[in-house]
Each structure stands twice: as C-alpha cells, then as structure tokens.
Symmetry: C2
C-alpha cells in the first residue's frame, strides 16, 4: 500500500453532505461524488477542471435531481480507489547484493539464463496447450453426453407429448452441473470467477491481485470453466485460457510450487516481479494463442495489455510460447480427432475457412461495415451498462457464496428454459442436408428429413453455433429465428457475465454479433434481391461478430489480429479493423469497455497509457504523499518494527536517509528499501549489536530474499525480543542505493511517463538539496482521470 499518508483531510463533498451514506445516483450523477477538495491548500480540484461557480451550482442542482429521481442505492466502490491493492515491482531492486551477483556472472552465465528463459517459455506454451486441449476434450465429451441424453428424451416425448418433462430434465441437468462449478468457485477460490482477463490486465499493469496466479486458482478455473460450458450457460471457454496460461507461466517460471510445497531449486534467478511478469505475459499470450489459434494475436494481446517497455527478445520469446501453445493444441486435438498430423485445429474456437477465391468484399460494402460497427458499438455499450448495473446489484446484495451459487443455478435453469421455449415455439424447419455435420439436429415437430434451425443455435455448444452462423448456407436460418436469438442471447449473456463461475464473454459476444450480423446480411440480400453479390450472410455474420465483440471488450489491434488469424484469411483485415475501430469509438462515447468497468468497480489502481490530457496543471508536489516515513541508513530495530507494525499507515516502501554525523546538514536521500526486504532482514536477525560493534549474523544472500518471495510473512509473525529491539540494523547493503527521483516541480505527465515506462512502485520526490519531500506511488497517479467535467480525482479508501 506504499507510503500513502491517508489524505483524510481531503474530504469529498459527498462525504460532507452525507450523500454517500444515504443514497447516490448510479451512472450520470455519480461523477460528482469525486470532486474532492483539498482544504489544506485552499485549492479545489474544481479549479483544475476550471469549472466556474455557475457550473458548480448547476451541478448541485443535478445532484439533487438525481437524489430524487434515482433508486436509493450506493455504488459500492464506484469512484473510489482501494488502498488494499499492493503494487508489483517491475523495476529491479539494485542493491549491493544484486549488483554483486550480476558482477559475478560471466557472459556465459547470461547466455545460460537466456536459454533457460527460452526453455521456460517453451514449457509454458506446451502446458498451456495441454490445458486447452484438456478443457476442449472434457467439454466435448461431457456436453456430448448431456446433449445425447436430452435429445433422446426430447425425441421420446415429442410424439407422445409431455415435453415439459424434457424441459425439466434439461434445466435440472444444467443447474446441477453449474452448481458444481459455482460451488468450487464461490467457496474455494472466488478469484477464479469470470474470465480472469481483468485480473491479468491488472497483474501485467503492476497491481498485485492476491492469489491470482496460484495453482489452486488454475485448478478451480479449469474445472469451473468445464462446468460452465457443459452446464449450457451463455459463456465461452476462451477467456479463461488467458488466465490459465498466466498461472502456468507464473508457476513454471519460479521452479517451485508453494501450494504443493515443492521447490525444484531451478530458475531461482527468475524469482522476482520483473522476470515473473515477462513470463506471465508469455503465458497470457500462449492462452490467447491456444484459445483462438492466434499466436500473433496473443503476442499483441500481451503487449497491448501488459508491456510498456517493448523488448525485442522478450517479444520473440512470447511469440515462441504462443506458437508452441497453438501447435501443442493442434497436435493433440488432431490425435483426439483420429486424424493425427492434420493441423487444422489451431485453437479452441474454429471460425472455419472463409472462401479465399474471388472477391471477398466490395469497395461499396465498406460503409455498410462501418454502420454495422456503429450498431456493434451501441449494443456493446448497452451490454456494458446493463452489466454494470447488475454488477453493482451483485456487489450489494449477492455477496454471500451460497447466494452466488444459487444465482448461477438460477441462470442455468432460466437459460435452459428460454432455450427450450424458443426451440419449442419456433417453426423454422430446414431440410437436413446430407453434408450437415451438426451433431445434435433436433427434429421436434418438423417433418421427417428436416430439423429445427433454432435448435442449431440453442442446442449446441456456443462454439459450434458460431461456426454454423458463419458458414451455413444462405437460407439456413429465417430472420425471425435470428432476431429472437439475438434478443434472448443478449440478455442471457449479460446476466451470465459476472456470475461466480469461470467463464468468458468472447464467445457469447461473437454469437450475438454473428446472429444479428447474419440478420443484416439477410436483410441486405432481401432489399437488393436482383444483386446477389451481397447475399453472403456468413460474411456479415463475421462482421457482426467483430462489431459486437469490439463493442463489448474494446480491444483494438490485438482483437483485429485475433479475428484475422481465427478466420485464417488476411483479406478481411481491413473491414474487421474498420468495424472494430467504429465500434470502439461509438462505444467509448457511452461507457468504457467491460473489463475496464469491472476493474473500476473493484477500485483497482490501474495505470493507463498516459496521464490524463489536461493534467499539466498538476506537479509532483501536488500528487505526492507526504510526509514520508523515512528510515536511517543504520536504524534501530525497534523503530523498524514499530514502523512496519503501524497498521494505520501500512507503508510498503521507505526512503533511506543519511545525515553527516554531528553536522547540522539536512538528511539526504541515499536509498529506498521495501517492507518485504525489511521483513526478511528481521526474520534472519541481521542486527548489529552496538555493544560489541560487530556482526552477529551470517551474511545474508540474495537467495534468502528469493526463498521468501513472493509470500513474505506479516510483521506480526516475527518475534523480536526487547533486547533485539535495542540493536541496530545496517540497511546499506540491502537498500536500492539509486532510486529514481524527480524534483517537486515535475509535471504530472512527466512523472507518469517515468513511472509507467519503468514500471516503478515508489518514486521519491526530492527538493534541490536532495532531501525527501514526498513519495509518489501508483495510487497517487491512478487517482486522476478525465471525467465529464475535466480532470477529476478519485478518493482513496481502505476497502
């Protein structure tokens, strides 16, 4: 939590008026909450946004309006920034121990290290591919059994009547499976809920999310995602692959498992945040690669979400992991499909081959694509807003694990019921072609040799449905089917995302988009009947899918490449890019992307790419936390223990200062030391007994710090006797002697750039005498953002 002196003096107007406790508006009105003042300096943040008093009054009015008109709910932690998240250290701690080790290493040692990095990346790719393969096969087999059972049951009852029993069977089956998935997630590892993409984004950004890369999380995630998909929820198994890959990477690269209490004594060099992050990027990329068969897309995802500093060798390693991952999946799936060597399953989802011969699209279709992008942006924004409200509702009312499991079961039952109803009342019968490879065609009330086309979308795993929508012949679906499907699936998917189950939002988004995209294609073909050129509904389904997905998640370059790689056809690059761009622009006008919304709702101090545009007004002096708790280079043990034990501040990094003894000179900054390092020092009793004035301990090695990484014990678990409290501790060897510093006048964008580019955790602000005057941490920077009224500031909160 870094050296933040909690700015309790900065009370928000909301606090002053007590609005926060009574009821505040949800979306529009809530922005005002954040206008905090800084009475101590007499300058309100309003001035930064340069709001006149007239604006202020207007705002108050609207505030009152919203109090009257809106539901009486508290946005749980909307517009707050939680202090509970720690940062990761993506800057090497260059203390004497580290430098000594580096200096001992020869060029050959560095070569070996480089080779082991490659080996680790290969392993990450391989294991991620295996996991993807396992999930795929498990889902395939289990869903197969389920659909066979239900299908047989439906067929039995279709003629004799009593289909309600089939419905019941279906609903109960689904609920039961989802219950299992819900229980393991809600009770054993809540962090495994959802797709995990927001969490990995945060991790790569430098926020420590507790337990996010543990083995247990992986196990729950994998089991959970299988249950969710088999349970028939409107979810995909692709998003969770990214999280799984990241966990694999974090595990493999450390050469040990704390959960299993095994230490293989390898890769010890990689036991620090900097190295671990590189591997986690590779793992995430491998996950994307396995999920979509998109190795380049995976690399771009890792870069887009994580990296700020582009390093050629790192990128190349990430690409290697991605390639190995998709290749492993491909090989194993080809064996599973009894066609070994046929490398045509590069990913979990297969968009299938789009025709490459002839004209892919015409010049004059491009405006249509852009229009579809706009529709996708609108629908995506709607999806996100609905999900936002739902999430707030969940945070308030559905936070107990058993309630969460029950909600998941309810959703499963409703999904089954809705699906059944849709199929039941649909009379869209299509002839069963000889080449039809749909595995579970439901005949229902159709004539013999025909099947119900609504069932091909509902009575199937979502991946298969996407494939059908992309590739089935024109005329397979009638427009009513598509329209109804879009509508119901939209709400189902929206309700489903955020449940306490492991599941991704990619596939449902693609499915919704493909459905309305195909509808667009159908309508266009109907309007321009004499011109059959536009009649390829599969193409419009693809564009619709891209638009909808882009509108919801708002990823840009990586998503384009993922889509292109998944279609295996470079020709669609330009339209997909245009569509994604349009949907992002349109969507961003209303609300942020889904992942960003969830990150914000958890009050995570996430650093964006750049400081807010209008933040040149602010300088380090204003954003820094002060006063700072500093330690002396040779400090009393008691002082250190007290400082670390102070739960009201709970600082994580301490500037180390030195004073020329006996002089009047001010204390100069000479280093920076972390809580975790101090803990290790205390644990190993690295004390100097003043009486004898010599070292009483063995020399501490870098290894001792690595062994303790990353789960450093709390200060409370370390016993320090009263005698020991009187000893001194020499921090010289262990502190980072050359921390980055900035002068007080540095503008916020400049501070931000330094902080973000180098992945810092603490940045010391000094005056022109090199005295410590403040400390800038992640939260000090993440606080500022552009709101409706210019620059706004989030409040820091302990929750």
């Amino acid at each position: 939590m870094a050296n933040i002196t909690k700015k309790v003096s900065w009370s928000s107007r909301a606090d002053e008026t007590g609005i926060l406790g009574e009821g505040t508006p949800l979306l529009n009105g809530s922005e005002q909450l954040t206008h905090s003042r800084q009475p101590s300096e007499g300058r309100s943040v309003f001035q930064i946004g340069r709001l006149s008093t007239v604006d202020l009054e207007e705002e108050i009015t609207s505030d009152e309006d919203s109090q009257r008109g809106r539901p009486n709910e508290i946005p749980h932690n909307e517009k707050l920034l939680s202090l509970k998240f720690e940062s990761l250290d993506y800057d090497n701690i260059e203390n004497q121990l580290f430098l000594e080790e580096e200096r001992r290493m020869s060029h050959m040692n560095f070569r070996c290290l480089e080779i082991s990095r490659w080996v680790v990346c290969g392993l990450i790719g391989f294991l991620t591919g295996l996991i993807a393969c396992f999930i795929d096969i498990a889902v395939e087999e289990l869903a197969g059994i389920k659909y066979q059972v239900v299908k047989k049951n439906i067929e039995n009852f279709t003629e004799v009547g009593g289909l309600s029993i089939s419905l019941l069977l279906w609903a109960v089956l689904n609920s039961a499976i989802v219950m299992v998935g819900g229980i393991i997630v809600a009770f054993f590892e809540p962090i495994a809920a959802g797709s995990g993409i927001p969490q990995i984004k945060c991790y790569l950004n430098g926020v420590k999310i507790p337990r996010v890369v543990r083995l247990k999380t992986l196990v729950v995630k994998v089991a959970g995602v299988i249950c969710s998909v088999v349970g028939g929820l409107a979810v995909g198994k692709e998003g969770p692959m990214i999280h799984s890959g990241a966990v694999v990477a974090a595990g493999v690269s450390q050469g040990r498992s704390t959960s299993l209490k095994r230490d293989f004594k390898i890769f010890e060099y990689f036991r620090r945040d900097t190295e671990k992050r590189d591997f986690v990027s590779a793992g995430a990329a491998a996950g994307v690669s396995a999920a979509f068969g998109a190795p380049v897309g995976g690399v771009l995802f890792a870069l887009e979400e994580g990296a700020s500093f582009w390093n050629q060798m790192l990128t190349w390693r990430i690409f290697f992991a991605s390639m190995i991952s998709t290749f492993t999946l491909n090989i194993f799936l080809s064996v599973y499909n009894k066609n070994p060597g046929d490398l045509s399953n590069p990913g979990l989802i297969n968009f299938g081959r789009f025709p490459v011969d002839g004209v892919a699209y015409n010049f004059y279709e491009i405006p249509l694509f852009i229009a579809m992008g706009a529709i996708g942006g609108l629908l995506g924004a709607l999806f996100n807003i609905l999900n936002y409200w739902l999430t707030i509702f969940r945070i308030r009312y559905v936070h107990r694990p058993c309630l969460q499991v029950m909600e998941a079961m309810l959703v499963a039952a409703v999904t089954a019921t809705v699906s059944f109803t849709m199929i039941y009342f649909s009379n869209d019968c299509q002839p069963l072609g000889p080449e039809d490879k749909k595995e579970y065609p439901l005949q229902l009330f159709c004539a013999d040799g025909e099947y119900n086309s609504m069932a091909t979308t509902f009575f199937n795993t979502p991946e298969r449905s996407v494939h059908s929508l992309f590739h089935n012949q024109p005329g397979t679906y009638n427009p009513l089917t598509l329209g109804l499907f879009t509508l119901t699936y939209f709400f189902l998917a929206c309700w489903t995302y955020g449940l306490a189950v492991s599941a991704g939002v990619f596939i449902p988004s693609l499915l919704i988009g493909a459905a309305w995209g195909r509808l667009c294609g159908f309508l266009l073909a109907a309007i321009t009947t004499p011109a059959p050129l536009w009649a390829d509904p599969g193409k419009y389904a693809l564009i619709g899918a891209a638009a909808q997905l882009g509108g919801i998640v708002r990823m840009t370059l990586s998503l384009t490449v993922i889509m292109v790689e998944a279609t295996g056809n470079v020709t669609y690059g330009l339209p997909i890019m245009l569509v994604l761009m349009t949907s992002k622009i349109v969507g961003d006008y209303f609300v942020e992307g889904l992942y960003d919304i969830h990150i914000k709702l958890q009050s995570i101090p996430f650093l964006h790419w750049e400081a807010p545009a209008t933040s040149h007004w602010l300088t380090a002096r204003e954003v820094m936390s002060s006063p700072v708790t500093c330690l002396n280079r040779i400090e009393k043990v008691g002082t250190i223990v007290d400082t670390l034990s102070n739960t009201s501040t709970n600082h994580n990094g301490f500037p180390v200062v030195v004073q020329v003894s006996g002089s009047d000179e001010p204390e100069k900054l000479c280093g920076l030391i972390l809580r975790s390092q101090l803990i290790v020092l205390l644990k190993h009793k690295v004390f100097v007994e003043l009486a004898r004035s010599r070292l009483t301990h063995r020399k501490l090695q870098l290894k001792d710090f690595r062994d303790a990484y990353p789960r450093f014990p709390p200060i409370q678990s370390i016993h320090v006797s009263q005698d020991e409290r009187e000893c001194m501790m020499d921090l010289t060897e262990f502190m980072n002697a050359t921390p980055y510093t900035v002068p007080q006048e540095t503008s916020l964008p400049r501070v931000f750039k330094l902080f973000r580019a180098l992945g810092l955790r603490h940045l010391v602000v000094v005056d022109d005498e090199n005295r410590v005057v403040g400390l800038v941490t992640r939260k000090d920077l993440a606080r500022y953002h552009i709101g409706k009224h210019g620059l706004e500031e989030l409040q820091l909160a302990q929750t």
Copy 2:
C-alpha cells in the same frame, strides 16, 4: 554532439602502437583495436571483461599474427563511434512555455489534436500507397518496354545468329538506365542510396541522420528505385518503400515543406521530435504495408525497429496508416489492372495464394524446415560477410560519385551479361502451357511451343521470378537451372547491395532462397520418390525464401508476420517462425545482420534494447562525460556565444545551474537547455539589459521555436554585437526545469534503461548535493558492447 568532453586521454592500444595507421586485420583480429585503457583512473577496460594477463599476452600474439597474415587494409571506421551524429529529442522539453501552452489547452483541444493525428496518419497511408502504386506502374510499364525490345531483338537474332548484338543491346540498355539512377543518387542525394532501412532504424532509434526525411530524398529515392529495377539489377523495390513512407510521414505531419518553402500553418503542434517520430513510425509501417501487403507486419516492423515505449493509441494509429496504405495501393492497382474492385493486390510483391485445402505440412517435415533455416543462416552470414568486405572496399576506394556511378553501370552490364550467358547455355526447355501467364517467355533454341525455363527467372522482374518459383508446377525447373541461378544470383545480389543506387535487398534474398529452397524440395522429392507427399517444391521455395531473408536481415517477429501476410495463409506461421528463428541463431553466431553491419560501418551511435549483459560493473560515474559545461540561469550573452562557438567541444545540451547569491553554497542543478533553444534565443535577441534592468524584447512564443524547427541556423550565422555580448540572458522560462537525473553510483544497465525507455538525449548525473558532476549522452552508452572478450568499448572519433 552533446556535452562530450572528448576522451582523448583514453588512448587505445592500437593508437599507442601505431597499428591503426599501418594496417590492421579485417574481421577477427580487429576486435583488439577496441581495448582502450583509461590511464587516468588506472583501471583498464580489460578488467571489466576480466581477462587475465595471460589472455592479454595471447592476444598480442594473435594481433601480430594477424598483422602478418592479413591484407594491409584499414577498416575505415570499424569499431569507432562517430561524433558527427546528433541525437533526436524523444523526451518533451517541458519548459515554462510548453507547460503554459499545455495548460491553456482544454480537453476539447486535446480531442482535436487527437483527431488531427488520425487525419495525418490517414494521409500518410494514402500518400504512401499512391507512391507505391506509382513505382509499381512505372516499373511495370518501363520494364515491359525494355523486355519487349530485348525479346524482339533476341528472337530476330536467334535464327540468323549474332546473339552477341542482343547481349550488347541488353547490357547497354541496362547500364544506361542504371546510370540515370546512379547519377541522381550519387550526385544529388547520396542518402537515398540503398534500401534506407538502416537509416530509418537509426532515425527511430533517436539518431539524427542528416537529410534522411527530406522531400528531395524522396524524389531521388523513387526515381532511383525505378531505374534500378528497370535496369535489371538484382534488387527489389520493397525496401525503399519503407524509407519513402517515412519521408512522407515526416513531411505531412509538419504541415510544411522547407524544401518547397511552403508553410501551410497546420499541424504546428507536431513540430518537435517526439511527435514527428510517432508519425515516422506510422510512415515506415505504411511503407512495409504497401510493399508486402502486410499491415500487421508493418506495425510490428515499426515497433520492432523503433518504439521503446508502447502506447496503445499510437499503435492503433500506426495500424490505421498501414491499412489505408495497402488499401489505397490495392484500389489503384485494381483500376490499373482494369479490374476495379478486385482487391487482390495488397502489396507490391504478391506471393500468390498457397493452397489452403488439405494438409499444409506434416509434423515430420519440421526438422527439414529447421535444417533449411540453418542453411539460410549460413548462406545469410556468408552474404553479409562478403558484403561487409565489399563495403569496406567501397568506403576506401569507391567514394567519389563518378566512380560510384561507374561501378553501378558495371554491375548492370555484368548482370545482363551473366543472365544472358546463363540463358544462352541453358538447355532447360519446358512446354509452354496454355495457362502460362509469363509475359516474356523466351523461346531461344527450344522447340516451338516450348520456352527456356532459365529465362523465366533471369528475364523477368525479380517479383515475377519469385512468384514463379513459388507457384509453378513441379518439374518446371530442372535442378541444374536452380543451382546455377542460386549461385550467380547470390553473388550478383551481394555485389549490388551497397551500390549508389536506391534498391532493396528483400526481393533478391527471397529469390535466392526460393531458388535453393525449390532445389531442396526437388531433391527431397527425388530421394523419397515413392512418397509423393513431399513433392511440393513451391512450399520448399517459400521456406527457403524465408530462411535466406532471415539469414540476411535477421528481423524476427515482424518478418514472420510479413511473410505470413504476404502468403495470405496463416497455416505457414509456425514453420516460418521456426525457420526464421533458426536462421537468426545460426547467422548471429557468425556475423550480425546486414542492416546492423551497415549501421556499424557508419559508426552510428545506435542504442540496442538493453545494456550489454555484463555491464553491471560500470556506473554512471565511469560512463558519463565530465567536466560539463554548465550555464548560469541568468547568463552573460558573451559566455553563451563563446560556448556555442567552441568548435572543439560543440556541445548540444547544457545543464543550467543556480547559486544562491552571495552564499558559499555550491551551484545546484536547476534545468537543462539545448543548443537549438539558445540559438533561437540569440536570434530573437532575448536579452536583458542590465543597465535598465528590464526586458527589451517581445515575449518569445513556443511558435518561434517551432518555426525554427528542425533546421536551426548555426551559431556563426547569428551576429551578436559587442554591446549585446555584455547583456544578460534569462534562461528560466526556456530551460527544461525538471531534467531527469541519476546519482553517480547508478549502474550502467539502470542508466541505459532510463535513457532508452524515455528516449532521452541528455541525462544529468548529480551528486548527493544535487550538483552537476557529469552528463550521459547517447554516445556514452552506445560505446559499450559485448565483443569476443567480454565487454568492450568503442572509441569516439570525430569522423
């Protein structure tokens, strides 16, 4: 050239023994040259590499050996670092003027800026696409005329004898065309020679290469590349597209042309290095995109070569420019090909469609691919070594423009002669299929209805030849043809690269690789005759092309993506990646990539991704230049003029210091100011007359600096009278008040990371009292590199 106090005291052993003047070995032996000592500190750089004295003695022996055994030549500027290259400022100069402007800007202003950035990127893409289109059409038409003339001539003489006249015609035609290209390059704009990729790499890296992004360079480049390709040299027109795109970007983004003396008064905000670099990245990407039809590859190229700080919005804009570029080219070429709307020409080179149905490659072929990668790496290294020797020869003996033109003409004549000879003596006749679309099939001595297959590779533009090698039916070429072609083309291409003509090395590399790759495929098919599975020579041609190109240029991720996009087939991703990786590893074992060799030979201070691995021994204290010329915050004009006029130092950045008046306190660092800023201040006479103690000048605006950017006048052109010399200048408003600083103990990797990640030009080293003790510039960091004997140091030289 920054504040480098030339370290003349650091004499190299080579200097001491006078080896440099007499003759030194070329490749292996030359490394010893660089072991410089630092007698003043008594610590030799040898200690850094930890060479024992035994090693030292051995080395001296080998040194003597090499003096005896090797040719008596001086590597012109091998292992030197030139002081003549200035750096670009990729860190914003945040002085008061800048901050005031930023603070005046509202959120809406920033939005508009963002939109204009998009507009500029769109324009860049459009214009780059147009240029590519122009080059393509010009080459197509002119080469068509040439080949028709020669073909008719050959056909006339085939029967009556006297083909030597045809040869003469061909050789003279080629030489004449190349002469034109050579003259404009050698006499008017030498920087337009070659592919321009090394220059753009340097520009993006932060090195200012004079005249590299000027309009004149673009014109010469475009005309030159047309001449080279039409002149039948073993060159491609793809590489120069990257340079062209970069020039377009630099021009468009500035909203004016200094060459044409037109200022459109738009985009003035973009007139600084930081913004310009972003656009140049986009231009380079657009160039790649147009050249290969590879928009994603273009983005990755720009990132791989240029960006160190990844910014999502920037990447997205670069992608936009790339897409527009390939799309523009596609549209215009479709119109030119009289098939408007058929978007099947995304790039200048078209690899053609590889079959997507069925199995692309088998699992067990992968070792073969890797072996081919190794061959590519070996051949690439050979190519680079030969070219390296050739380049040194050229630097020494062929530096006069007329000699350069003559060499180019010679190469053109030899190319024609060799081609003709090869065709003449080849008796590889193939039946002329009805579907054959070869435009210039030469019958020569073949029977009617047959054509000479050697001629399809030699008597064609290189792009067409590549296409034929990839796609012609198995059996089109006999192995002898392929072998001979590989051999001759290899040497021709090697001789051609580095000539004073605009030309790229991509296509020749692809062509060589495709030829021997096809040969490999043929041999494999011959060995495994009963198993016709391996008999697709086109596939092996593709793999060979990738291997050869990778072996020569050593680009990694971007090249993979470029190749994949150019084939339009994602399936080949994995083998291409494996091949490129292998060829890079094998090639790197022997020698660097071609572009890096040429960068090194020009002694450019290029910063790699990371500091050398074993450089933790060094600290800022050792690498910095000192003493530093500092200026006072309020400085006498005369002092400033004298400092700027000092040609022996020629500093470019000056720390500004301040001393509490009348106190004994040391001078504290308070800012940093650039030569270019001081020049503008002097030009506008921003002086304070002490007598009247008031400002006598109008207030200087940021606009004044922007108008002068980027061609600031030299100090000699500014007249300062004796009276004015006595005035004072107040630098407060103009200096960057918050320069980045590091303490003296900071390790080199840490300094390097800060410098590289933030794109700095000057980094001030301070002591713990905030006094200036040194300055780190690009050359101080680029000096260190890993050589054969551990860490080595390049010498700084004025040339």
